[in-house]
């Protein structure tokens, strides 16, 4: 152990031994007694906090401030919208009003054609997503597992990820026409890319410590694969699914707008054409709700799986 040499300063800093703590209470509860040559001005005084009485209402508000303000925010939005619409400040023609959208909603759900549209959109979404999931996951795992394969395909995967999949719609039309299968294809492409990229990433990266543990127990490559890589990749896959939800939904919407044959997107487009913004917004609302519900559901699963995992460096976006 190194010996430290001290500076040549005096060993004791004051004359005499160190002083005990002698609180000079003086004659009052805690008054300060000043010695010779010292006045109050020599010191800066730190004073305690001034306590304020709070009414019970104020206390309740402080505890629930987040909910109160959150609700207020949403209410304010819709109220402003409605009032603005009624007062003519907001062009009813374009933006409708909450009330009108609600009324349109009530009207629409009673019409069988609406449910037909819903069915078709759901079909497109469901088939596309399902197919993308069952192809992207095994393929992604296979690609990620074989290093050379993943390196070789990297440029193409990066390209596909950077590309907005909706750009493929005209291509899909060239392939399969304008029916529901075109939209399912777009849904498939959107989901496929969104899922395969994180999956490959997940297989390629693994916790170094766990790898060492497995190797020290002489685990076979297969054992490592099933017990380490697969569970480790699962959160990545789920993240990919969460990202896919938004992409797939957007894909279906645009595809339906583009093709104008059937589906909820067509409801929106036709409502726009006939200048019925309330029905149009109703359609938008449905998609929004579906998006929120699905994303939250997947997000829930994702957070559950991530309880043991510190973090994920995967996100949507370009490359």
């Amino acid at each position: 152990m190194a010996r430290w040499r001290y500076a040549k300063a005096p060993a004791v800093r004051r004359s005499g031994p160190p002083r005990r703590n002698v609180p000079d209470r003086g004659d009052d509860r805690g008054g300060i007694v000043y010695g010779p040559g010292v006045t109050a001005a020599t010191f800066r005084t730190i004073l305690p906090r001034v306590r304020r009485r709070r009414s019970p209402l104020s206390r309740w508000y402080r505890r629930n401030e987040r909910t109160v303000l959150g609700v207020a925010g949403v209410v304010a939005f819709f109220a402003a919208w409605q009032v603005g619409s009624d007062a003519g400040l907001i062009e009813r023609f374009f933006f409708s009003s909450p009330g009108a959208v609600l009324a349109a909603a009530v009207g629409e759900v009673q019409v069988p054609r609406f449910w037909n549209d819903v069915r078709i959109s759901a079909l497109e979404l469901g088939v596309g997503s399902f197919l993308s999931l069952v192809t992207a996951v095994p393929l992604g795992i296979a690609i990620g597992w074989y290093r050379r394969v993943s390196l070789t395909l990297d440029p193409w995967l990066n390209f596909l990820q950077a590309l907005p999949r909706v750009a493929l719609i005209p291509l899909a039309v060239l392939w399969v026409g304008l029916g529901w299968d075109m939209k399912a294809t777009i849904a498939f492409l959107g989901g496929f890319v969104s899922i395969i990229v994180p999956t490959v990433e997940g297989v390629r990266t693994v916790d170094q410590q766990l790898l060492d543990v497995a190797r020290s127990f002489r685990a076979s490559e297969r054992r490592i694969f099933t017990s380490l890589v697969i569970p480790g990749t699962l959160p990545f896959i789920v993240t990919g699914i969460r990202l896919a939800v938004g992409r797939v939904l957007a894909g279906v919407i645009i595809a339906e707008f583009y093709a104008q044959t059937e589906g909820l997107g067509v409801l929106i487009a036709k409502a726009e054409a006939s200048l019925q913004s309330d029905r149009m917004l109703f359609g938008v609302l449905i998609f929004t709700l579906v998006g929120i519900v699905l994303t939250e559901a997947v997000g829930y699963v994702e957070r559950y799986l991530q309880r043991w995992r510190p973090s994920l460096d995967v996100e949507e976006g370009l490359t």
């Binding site: 430290w4 004051r14 160190p18 703590n21 010292v38 010191f43 005084t45 305690p48 906090r49 306590r51």
Partner: protein
């Protein structure tokens, strides 16, 4: 209070209100304290005894419920500077910018602050690391930078909040010796918070022992070991006797654990 008092606290009390049950919690109950200029005083106690809270009150990060504290005004600037426990450096600043930060906060222009910070980097033994980023430094080195930052503002009183708690045992001991070297050169008043008895006894002129629930001072022990102190003073019988005394004081506050083993004898 006399001419060489650096810090004087009277009746300091800290109460919290439990957010859920609305019960009052007493963190510190009626602490009186005096620090003379140039003294090295340790605040020692188990977790929950309010020692860090007291330090934060002095530094101004918390406001006490009652009581007063007086700090001797320095020639310029703040009277006190704090050395934090962890996450203490800004990862996006170089070491030099971190050390200069205290000065920047005090209003010194950046260039001047950097100029003044440079000699301190040498003082704490970080020569050559001025332009490195914190992630490139070890834990001990980061704490040296932490210390340098507090020294740079040239405040009379150094408040140290368990600065070595996150270091491994070896580095910790080296840093203790380093700290004494730097303190002797810099001539500051130090209030050092720790929960390690040997650290308190080794470093300080006086050890103020605190107990928890509620936080209060239970003893003020003068350490009359000669200076300069080398690390091997920890093995001397006088040192061990101080440790034992303090240990018993603390143990007496926890009846359940102390009596279980009967009278404690330290090896």
């Amino acid at each position: 209070m006399s001419a060489d008092t650096a810090l004087s606290a009277r009746g300091v009390r800290m109460e919290y209100r439990d957010r859920n049950t609305n019960q009052p919690l007493l963190a510190i109950e009626d602490v009186d304290l005096d620090l003379a200029e140039g003294e090295f005083v340790a605040l020692l106690g188990p977790s929950g005894c309010g020692k860090s809270t007291f330090l934060k009150i002095v530094n101004g990060l918390l406001k006490a419920t009652a009581g007063e504290i007086r700090l001797r005004k320095g020639r310029k600037g703040r009277e006190d500077a704090m050395v934090f426990q962890d996450a203490a450096l800004f990862p996006w600043y170089s070491v030099l910018d971190n050390v200069a930060y205290g000065l920047v906060c005090a209003g010194v222009p950046r260039r001047e602050a950097r100029r003044r910070a440079l000699p301190l980097i040498e003082l704490v033994g970080l020569t050559g690391f001025a332009e490195k980023y914190p992630y490139q430094l070890s834990g001990g080195m980061q704490q040296r930078a932490n210390l340098a930052r507090a020294l740079a503002v040239d405040a009379e009183i150094l408040l140290m909040d368990e600065p070595f708690a996150s270091l491994d045992a070896q580095t910790r001991e080296d840093m203790q010796a380093e700290l004494l070297r730097i303190w002797t050169a810099a001539k500051k008043t130090v209030l050092f918070v720790t929960h390690q008895i040997d650290e308190a006894v080794y470093l300080s002129d006086r050890v103020i022992v605190m107990a928890a629930r509620p936080g209060r001072v239970i003893a003020d022990i003068a350490i009359e070991l000669p200076r300069p102190r080398e690390l091997d003073v920890k093995l001397t019988p006088e040192f061990v006797r101080y440790e034992q005394r303090i240990w018993e004081l603390i143990a007496r506050q926890r009846p359940t654990t102390a009596t279980a083993a009967g009278t404690q004898t330290r090896t």
